[in-house]
């Protein structure tokens, strides 16, 4: 489609090279404007349990699972869950299924204004424990809990709060743990500068769009103008994977609202007071001690991660009491290490190896 000269000499008033550019411009507009419709998260799945807007899904297998330990995916509260299931041929879920794993995903859903008082305590005591219990009951065995980004931070809190939960392993994908090294987000959300109380008072939920703007500000030029310059360039390449670009573009630009109370707790207790690493975090009156985690642990860390920089993400290894713990350091950023072609050749096979060894 892109860059072809199919209209050359067809009687159009513009000469060939100009038409090619014009066609590329049309393609460019079409690719960007239709990205919102790009199909993502297509791997078939069934609802196992539901609560409020959240859904626990089990992916359909065409053959019986050959691995004993199912994988439970815990995704971030601020994004669509589809980053782990972008599209056929580029899906982490599909990859796990092909290796013989039984895969569950817990999706938070799209929080509404009626959820403004739902905080992380609710998430960690009413939502996640039940979802893990239901997944384990459905599979008939303990699960590997795999959390991505904030989902990873919550998974770490959950594993610390409920050591008796039906879990066999813990995998954290670029999950911020030590907020003393939170990077730019740490600077922007600092006490005194960030109006977190006002946000809690005015907004029922932190809009996904605002969080998206903040994420783009981490590298403003590359994340805004750069995206389109690179697209323009790629449209000239006949082998450019348009669908792949669109699915990623859609995922990046479709944030989900973060309930105001949960967001307030996330910013104050995690970013501003760094309670998780300091050991002062309490959930429903119970202390959250990372040292209570003794499960086999894999911390996936990215070298160029600006959301969960390496010192923040790998700090978990210092604080847990697990004897079997490992850091998997990968070249790339927060998203690129998990999804996309680089992930397919780097993270996925190495993670699969770890999961099979810990089955």
């Amino acid at each position: 489609m892109a860059g072809s000269a199919k209209h050359n000499g067809s009687g159009w008033p513009l000469p060939g090279p100009i038409w090619t550019s014009a066609e590329r411009a049309l393609d460019f507009a079409h690719v960007v404007l239709t990205a919102k419709e790009a199909p993502i998260g297509q791997t078939p799945k069934d609802v196992v349990w539901r609560k409020n807007k959240s859904r626990l899904y089990r992916y359909r297998r065409t053959t019986p699972a050959t691995q004993r330990t199912p994988v439970f995916l815990c995704v971030p509260l601020i994004n669509r869950p589809d980053i782990l299931d972008l599209r056929p041929g580029g899906s982490f879920v599909e990859f796990l299924l092909s290796l013989g794993f039984d895969v569950f995903i817990y999706e938070w859903g799209r929080w509404g204004s009626e959820d403004r008082n739902i905080n992380l305590t609710d998430v960690l005591t009413r939502y996640l424990p039940r979802a893990v219990e239901h997944a384990s009951a459905a599979a008939g065995t303990d699960v590997t809990l795999l959390g991505y980004c904030i989902g990873g931070s919550l998974s770490a809190c959950f594993a610390a709060l409920y050591p008796e939960a039906p879990m066999k392993n813990l995998v954290l994908f670029t999950a911020p743990i030590d907020f003393a090294h939170a990077g730019d987000f740490g600077v922007w959300t600092a006490k005194g500068a960030f109006p977190i109380d006002k946000i809690r008072e005015v907004l029922p939920a932190m809009p996904g769009e605002l969080i998206d703007v903040a994420s783009k500000m981490l590298n403003p030029l590359v994340n805004t103008v750069g995206v389109y310059v690179r697209l323009w360039d790629k449209l000239g390449n006949p082998s450019f994977d348009v669908e792949g670009w669109q699915t990623m573009y859609r995922w990046v630009n479709e944030g989900t609202p973060f309930p105001a109370a949960a967001y307030h707790q996330w910013i104050t207790e995690f970013y501003q007071e760094n309670k998780l690493v300091r050991g002062t975090l309490e959930i429903a009156g119970r202390p959250v001690r990372l040292s209570a985690i003794s499960l086999p642990l894999l911390a996936v860390v990215a070298t160029a991660d600006t959301i969960a920089p390496r010192p923040s993400a790998n700090a978990v290894l210092e604080h847990v009491s697990s004897t079997d713990k490992e850091e998997l350091l990968l070249e790339g950023g927060h998203v690129g290490t998990v999804a996309g072609s680089a992930a397919r050749h780097s993270l996925w096979p190495r993670l699969a190896d770890w999961l099979v060894r810990h089955d």
């Binding site: 100009i18 204004s113 009626e114 403004r116 730019d184 006002k198 005015v202 403003p220 030029l221 750069g226």
Partner: protein, 179 residues
């Protein structure tokens, strides 16, 4: 000759001709120049922006912008709420409260479900022990009842036999009398 003149005239009167020539001559060069300019400067600009955005000043400025946005949102919300109240129409908060009630109700159902599951779990944990206890108790009771029943039956049979013996004894006497 006439045809040639009219073609020339049409070409002269085409208002886009000049633009088309300019575009044709320069379009690709401009595109390339812009792209080269961007690529050559991306790193420098990124660094400059990074320096600016990681400063305390930027964080405070961003915070103030956000506060202004929130103040505007609050004003807008209060204005809309006042208007809806005047019209006796439900506000977003009213609808949210209904939603909250539903979510709360669902949580209660979940709690009941959890408790039931807990009870079931506890019951199933001690099921064998309980069944064994019940069996033992039942068999003891059964033995006691059976022994009692046996005793009563024997006593009853004894009575019946002795009555029978008595009855068998009476006619003999009667016959003796009659004869």
């Amino acid at each position: 000759m006439t045809e040639g003149r009219s073609a020339q005239g049409a070409a002269r009167s085409d208002p886009f001709e000049a633009w088309r020539e300019l575009y044709q001559d320069n379009e690709q060069a401009w595109t390339k120049a812009m792209k080269d300019f961007y690529e050559a400067n991306e790193k420098i600009w990124t660094k400059a922006m990074k320096d600016a955005t990681t400063s305390q000043w930027f964080a405070e400025a961003q915070g103030k912008m956000l506060e202004s946005f929130l103040a505007f949102q609050k004003m807008l919300r209060e204005g809309t709420t006042a208007q809806l109240n005047a019209l006796n129409l439900p506000t977003r908060d009213d609808v949210s409260r209904v939603g909250e009630l539903v979510v709360g109700l669902e949580e209660k159902v979940d709690q009941v479900e959890d408790r039931l599951a807990g009870l079931e779990g506890r019951l199933s944990e001690h099921r064998e022990e309980r069944v064994a206890k019940l069996e033992l108790g039942f068999s003891r009771q059964f033995e006691q009842h059976f022994a009692k029943l046996e005793k009563e039956l024997l006593r009853h049979l004894d009575e019946r036999f002795s009555n029978l013996e008595k009855r068998l004894g009476r006619p003999e006497k009667g016959t003796d009398k009659g004869t």
